[in-house]
């Protein structure tokens, strides 16, 4: 008898292939030509546009939308890519509802912003589908830059450096590139292998060599990179996860949400991917939402996301929270885990209700227990393998200005660097800006050393 949502334990094939295909289809499909024209026409071409201010990469949004509306989507894509070479992925994963679309004047006017994200996807998908690379490399500078990490920050940095004529080597710990774009985003936000397509397209600029399976601190060292290259950019993200330090957290099936998300993204056949019947996700960020929603879409009977603070504190946007609840995921606020129960493997998890008193989290004294045969921890990631010579601040690499670290000739950006907000688009901006600073330093021969 085939498995169903009611089957006990952690099993695969709870849903049939057709349902899975539907569940994991594109969250926001590409606009067709007419839809794009209608959507583009809603843009008021604001002066000193608030959307542009809100975009971490400062894409000229009014201009790219006007270019769509006048039938020149390729020019529109160029406008986007000139600021954000990962504009295709950002169009899919940016929390636009808290960035450009939140400040859109039509959101103010009607509560219905211009669909900036989907228009961006329309333009970028069009040019990428043609296989066109909108940039041409400058004459070679003879300089070589090492980039650690093939995620959004590293790729953005590498591409800009390549455009400026430098040779780049990207070292990545994984067997393939893309970073969180490939391993860390809900599958329904990046369907049909888009992350790899985008990577291939980005690399078509030339001058970028990929070195996969190279772990910083094990296979490569910062010291050697500094010797082998003229500059180094660190964009390796957060490789570790925070531990759940409660009784029973060592029981079987208490897992990291990031691993689950990565496994799901890499799965060739979702029907073979096992999922629990009663799933509990601990955390309040995008990782918690991505894990919870996908657990539900795989066929878990019930999924609860439990967050220790209130709804307003959750770092996942209201849109993401509503997406989760619309898929049947329950979100419980103001509860923190106390102990995992079960005989060897997790069977349940006890929570204590919290409240905020004078700005501090306190327990109310009440508690409850959820049935749980699979528990995903999504309580934050942490940096791993930082070379000892680098100054660390707030558990991240300390940087100033455009990503300059405490070491001369070493820059950092993306999630591993101080500042930013752990968004793809922010990582892209930091990688790009570091590249420009690296370029200036290499060409001018000026020291990148900054007082820290």
């Amino acid at each position: 008898m085939p498995n169903t949502v009611a089957t006990d334990g952690i099993v695969s094939g709870r849903l049939n292939n057709a349902t899975l295909k539907d569940n994991f289809s594109d969250l926001h499909p590409k606009l067709d030509d007419h839809e794009a024209l209608v959507a583009a026409d809603r843009c008021y071409f604001c002066y000193d546009a608030p959307c542009m201010e809100a975009c971490p990469t400062s894409i000229d949004i009014p201009l790219f939308i006007r270019q769509i509306s006048t039938g020149t989507a390729d020019a529109s894509a160029n406008t986007i890519f000139s600021q954000n070479i990962l504009g295709g992925m950002c169009a899919r994963v940016c929390p636009t509802e808290t960035l450009c679309e939140e400040v859109c004047v039509r959101e103010t006017a009607e509560g219905k912003p211009v669909e900036i994200g989907r228009l961006q996807r329309y333009a970028t998908d069009g040019l990428m589908a043609k296989g066109q690379q909108p940039f041409v490399r400058a004459a070679s500078t003879g300089k070589s830059v090492a980039v650690v990490g093939a995620g959004p920050a590293g790729l953005s940095c590498a591409h800009r450096l390549a455009v400026l004529g430098h040779d780049v080597v990207i070292y990545d710990a994984r067997p393939k590139g893309g970073g969180l774009n490939e391993f860390g985003i809900a599958a329904y936000k990046s369907v049909d292998g888009f992350a790899q397509q985008e990577l291939d397209w980005l690399l078509s600029i030339g001058g970028i060599t990929m070195q996969y399976g190279k772990i910083l601190g094990a296979d490569i060292t910062l010291e050697q990179l500094q010797v082998d290259h003229d500059a180094v950019f660190l964009g390796m993200g957060l490789g570790g996860v925070n531990g759940l330090d409660i009784e029973g957290s060592d029981k079987d099936n208490v897992l990291d949400a990031v691993s689950f998300i990565a496994d799901l993204r890499q799965a060739s056949d979702l029907i073979k991917l096992p999922i629990g019947k009663h799933v509990v996700v601990i955390g309040g960020g995008m990782t918690a939402i991505d894990a919870g929603v996908q657990a539900k879409l795989l066929g878990a009977l019930d999924v609860s996301i439990v967050y220790r603070r209130g709804k307003e504190n959750m770092s996942a946007s209201v849109f993401e929270q509503e997406l989760a609840t619309s898929k049947g995921v329950r979100i419980i606020y103001n509860a923190q885990p106390v102990r995992v129960t079960g005989n060897g493997a997790a069977a349940g998890i006890e929570f204590a209700y919290t409240q905020t008193v004078d700005g501090k989290l306190a327990l109310t004294g009440e508690s409850f227990t959820l049935q749980a045969d699979q528990i995903f921890k999504a309580i934050g990631q942490t940096i791993e393998g930082v070379p000892g010579a680098l100054k660390i601040e707030n558990r991240k690499i300390s940087v100033t200005g455009t990503g300059r670290t405490s070491l001369d000739g070493v820059w950092a950006g993306g999630d591993c660097a101080l500042g930013g907000d752990d968004l793809t688009v922010t990582a892209v901006a930091e990688g790009r800006d570091a590249a420009i600073d690296i370029h200036t330093s290499l060409i001018d021969g000026t020291s990148s050393k900054k007082e820290l």
Partner: protein
């Protein structure tokens, strides 16, 4: 409840909405559907003289200009007069008129400028029982090349001559349809009046090329690699048509000449605007060709509601109501001083008012660091551009300054005495009173 019954030059119809002479009125099938849909009258598509009918192109006849969401704003056409035999049209006209005696049925005509040709066809039209004729002196393409249509409408002497023939050889009311492709529309209107016309109708279509195909470098619509100018109509031409109607309504010579208003009428509001500007009724084509005949229902209900709100019961009472207020620039009150005011609560902070005023006008709008927009009265000339570009209706308005207050831009005290250019000291043609 307003009474929309219309009496235009003695031709009665249940409402003032007629379909203009055009493809929608080319044959019995369409006209019956139009009457069933509620249209008050129809001007049958232009008939030519007996014999082999004209032929139309077999490629595209229409070109278009679109706005947002592909909303049709302008349409042009290169279609000719009816391409069906005269006797077929006459038979159908007779049949339709017999079945719809309460609806207006006017027949549009265009034959060569020969007295006998007009005499012949007029007799045949009278036989059908049609209510009147409309002389097509407006068609700007194809027929004009053969000395008809706008080729007649551009020569006032021809208009007068042909109109006179029509009144001489027919007892039917005669409407002269004017072309806008002239410099001063009052001249052909005066000629029509001199020839004895009962009314004029306007405008016919405007010479136009709607767009150019940038792949094959040819105008649209393109036929076998070539394009020709066509006649433009639809919402885009309404302002031009309204002005021409006003010109004739205001001309002392033609002030009492009835006008059938045509040109981009799409809603009841457009119709009402033409009528208060002097049109006794209106004719519609593009709206029907865009949305089908059903649009007349909205025109009827809308005009009716508005008249009720204005407590006007008879459509005749709205005709010409705006004519006395339509003046010339030199008579506008230069002592009327206004300033733009921005309603901060309605403002959505798009900044378009700022961009256009700063870049293209008077630098009279201020923008704060937190995007609060305000008007600098020291610079504002009340040009209205900010009002026009603001996407929020009612957010920016022009407010009149009270008499006795001082205009900070000029430092002068606002006067409550009207003063216009005709008496202004800067006007070189003003002779100072000695």
């Amino acid at each position: 409840m307003a009474d929309l019954t219309s009496n235009f030059i003695g031709i009665k119809s249940p409402n003032p909405f007629w379909l203009a002479s055009a493809p929608p009125t080319d044959k019995e099938y369409n006209v019956r559907r139009a009457y069933e849909a509620g249209w008050g009258g129809v001007v049958w598509k232009t008939l030519g003289e007996a014999g082999p009918p004209v032929v139309n192109v077999n490629g595209p006849r229409y070109g278009a200009v679109w706005g947002a969401d592909r909303r049709l704003l302008g349409l042009n056409n290169i279609e000719l007069i009816t391409d069906r035999p005269l006797e077929v049209n006459l038979r159908e006209i007779k049949s339709v008129k017999r079945d719809y005696p309460d609806r207006a049925l006017i027949v549009s005509l265009m034959v060569p400028c020969e007295e006998q040709a007009w005499k012949n066809i007029l007799a045949e039209i009278e036989d059908t029982g049609a209510d009147g004729i409309e002389l097509n002196f407006g068609c700007p393409h194809g027929m004009a090349e053969r000395g008809m249509g706008s080729a007649v409408g551009q020569v006032p002497e021809y208009i007068e001559m042909v109109t006179r023939w029509c009144k001489q050889y027919s007892r039917m009311p005669c409407i002269v349809k004017l072309t806008p492709n002239i410099t001063d529309v009052r001249m052909p209107a005066q000629a029509a009046l001199a020839g004895g016309a009962d009314a004029v109708s306007l405008i016919n279509t405007i010479n136009s090329i709607t767009s150019v195909n940038l792949d094959i470098f040819a105008p649209e619509p393109t036929i076998d690699g070539k394009g020709a100018h066509g006649g433009y109509c639809g919402p885009a031409v309404k302002p031009i048509a309204l002005n021409m109607v006003a010109e004739i309504a205001r001309d002392p010579i033609t002030a009492n000449l009835p006008i059938s208003g045509i040109g981009g009428i799409t809603t009841w509001r457009d119709a009402a605007e033409f009528m208060v500007m002097g049109a006794g009724n209106v004719q519609v084509c593009t709206a029907a060709m865009t949305y089908g005949f059903k649009v007349v229902e909205e025109m009827i209900s809308g005009l009716s509601q508005w008249m009720d709100e204005k407590q006007i019961s008879d459509v005749a009472d709205i005709v010409g109501r705006a004519v006395p207020n339509t003046s010339d620039w030199q008579h506008l009150n230069l002592n009327y001083i206004a300033k733009a005011k921005i309603d901060e609560d309605l403002c959505i902070k798009c900044g378009r008012c700022y961009a256009v005023c700063e870049d293209t006008s008077h630098q009279a709008i201020l923008m704060s660091d937190d995007r609060v927009f305000s008007v600098n009265d020291d610079e504002c000339v009340a040009c209205n551009l900010c009002v026009n570009v603001c996407p929020v209706e009612g957010c920016i308005s022009l407010e009149q300054m009270a008499a006795g207050t001082t205009d900070p831009r000029t430092g002068t005290v606002v006067s409550d005495v009207k003063a216009d250019w005709t008496t202004h000291p800067n006007n070189p043609s003003v002779t100072a009173a000695e």
